[in-house]
């Protein structure tokens, strides 16, 4: 589990990245940077604690509530600590037609957790998501930026084994 950060500051590289993002928008429109900057924050801390969100608010000259209302609206932002690997499993129709529900059952059994939970070793968090726009290659799940497609029980076992090393 990632601990709630005591000292909230972006790494120097990410500070640069955040500056570059803010500079993309017309003057006075720095609020547009909110979603991208929250992605950078989540990349660094794994999830968005209120300290992190307050820090982002101050960087963009926003009220904290403007950040909270956005972070709670969009499903990609994790508002609680998560495991090392967050498995975002597609539960939408086309994936289900390709056996997505059976593979999901196997995955849950393999990890011994249900949606929204994290394994005891802190390695995996399981999250159900809606359509990932990869329906022709279903069943699908995503871990960070990587798509895992055409999943079968065997493939799931291999992926979990690989990531457990």
């Amino acid at each position: 589990m990632t601990e709630s950060p005591n000292l909230v500051a972006f790494t120097p590289e990410r500070q640069e990245k955040v500056k570059e993002i803010i500079a993309r928008y017309p003057e006075g429109r720095q609020k547009s940077a909110l979603l991208p900057v929250l992605h950078v924050a989540q990349e660094q801390w794994g999830w968005l604690s209120s300290e992190v969100m307050d820090h982002v608010a101050s960087l963009l000259s926003l009220e904290p509530v403007e950040v909270y209302e956005v972070a709670t609206f969009y499903t990609m932002y994790h508002l609680d600590p998560v495991g090392k690997h967050v498995i975002e499993y597609c539960r939408t129709g086309p994936c289900c037609l390709m056996g997505g529900e059976d593979v999901y059952g196997h995955l849950k059994q393999r990890l011994g957790i249900d949606a929204g939970q994290t394994t005891a070793d802190g390695l995996f968090t399981l999250k159900e998501v809606e359509c990932l726009a990869a329906c022709g290659w279903g069943p699908v799940f995503q871990i960070r930026e990587k798509y895992y497609m055409n999943l079968t029980n065997e493939k799931v076992d291999e992926i979990i084994e690989e990531l457990s090393k």
């Binding site: 993309r24 928008y25 017309p26 429109r29 609020k31 547009s32 940077a33 909110l34 979603l35 991208p36 929250l38 992605h39 963009l60 926003l62 403007e66 209302e69 956005v70 609206f73 969009y74 499903t75 990609m76 932002y77 975002e88 539960r91 939408t92 129709g93 086309p94 289900c96 037609l97 390709m98 998501v129 809606e130 359509c131 990932l132 726009a133 990869a134 329906c135 022709g136 290659w137 279903g138 995503q142 960070r144 930026e145 990587k146 798509y147």
Partner: protein
Amino acid sequence: MAIKILTEHINTPGIETFDVYRQKGGYTAVEKAIKTMTPEEVVEEAKKSGVRGRGGAGFPMGMKWGFLAKPEGVPRYLVCNADESEPGTFKDHHLMKTIPHLLIEGMIISSFALGANKSFIYVRGELMYVIRILEQAIEEAKAKGFLGKNILGTGYDLELIVQPGGGAYICGEETALLESLEGKRGNPRNKPPFPAVKGLYQSPTVVNNVESISNMPWIINNGGDAYAAIGVGRSTGTKLISASGHINKPGVYEIELGVSVEEFLNSDEYCGGVRKGHHLKALVAGGSSVPILPAHLIMKTANGEDRLMSYESLSDGGFATGTMLGSGGFIVFDETACIVRNTWNFSRFYHHESCGQCSPCREGTGWMEKVLHRIEHGHGSMHDIDLLVDISKKIEGNTICPLGDAAAWPVASAIRHFRDEFMWHITNPHEASQPGAVYQGEMALV
């Protein structure tokens, strides 16, 4: 071999790089447009092409461009909608990751046509790896003088920004997308004013889908009339179809509009037929929100004519016997698919994705999901079927944005065409709620 406007070079090794894309004739349309044409002439070619919004609405793109207000001294914006999230649709994902320069070239031409100097590509946040591919391509184009200040020495400036979303289907609705781009929750705006008058930052804005914009290089190189000569009637050009479900060859295919549904489904050039040993039961032709049709109505119209992959033919018969082309999300169901379970699944999706602004949608989607859940799980009553129809009617047309309609149509159409299957779930609750149980009663399979 059918004509390929978007995907001709998609399998060329290295096509994601500037150099290979350029070798294949890439960026010649940018040169032609900004060096030899006026913005008005580019708009005119788009109008002549008849190309229609490929995100699902099917509104003519050139006409949409024509609505853009041009007050003096106010910046105008072009925003590309790459928030592809409609279940069954994955064509933009495929196009952007394989041939990113096509979209960038289209963005430069379209931005020039609209007089925009700062344009955005709003990509769903889950596709972060595609965002990185696009950003890399933008850097290359900039280094070669096709983006940035004084493009190709013409004095035209353009900055292209890739914006990630945060995971919200609703941001595919253009005004929700603009809210999101401004750093807010994705709540659709009341219209009017339309984005063409007050869009991003209250400035005149055009929002177009990835595939729509990606047609522009070909249209500039070959002319709008040549584009309009492809296809059938008012369904001009080609369309990317995302094919999924129970078929032999799932994937993204570029078709000339007007090929028959039967050819698309059964030909080896496309889906390769329903998976071996099975039969077609139902089909969703345009993404999860369009009406589902039973096998006999998708292959032939109610008048017995061949159903074609075109805006007009798919909607022939209205919602009584027809459907829509929508985003081209072609989802195939064979006889092992349970229509009730799938309808419940789609309903849950729309409930999850409702922004919560309008009460008919916020409450109605949840209510439909709940009723469908109880039918699927063996606790339904006959009254529930009419209740679902009633709720769907009360959502449809009563919300700020089309998500309400998108949630209502799959439910209403499933009941319209598969009422027996719903009734079977209710009269045989024990059997129907077993895992994998599927209605085996009389129905027309193809």
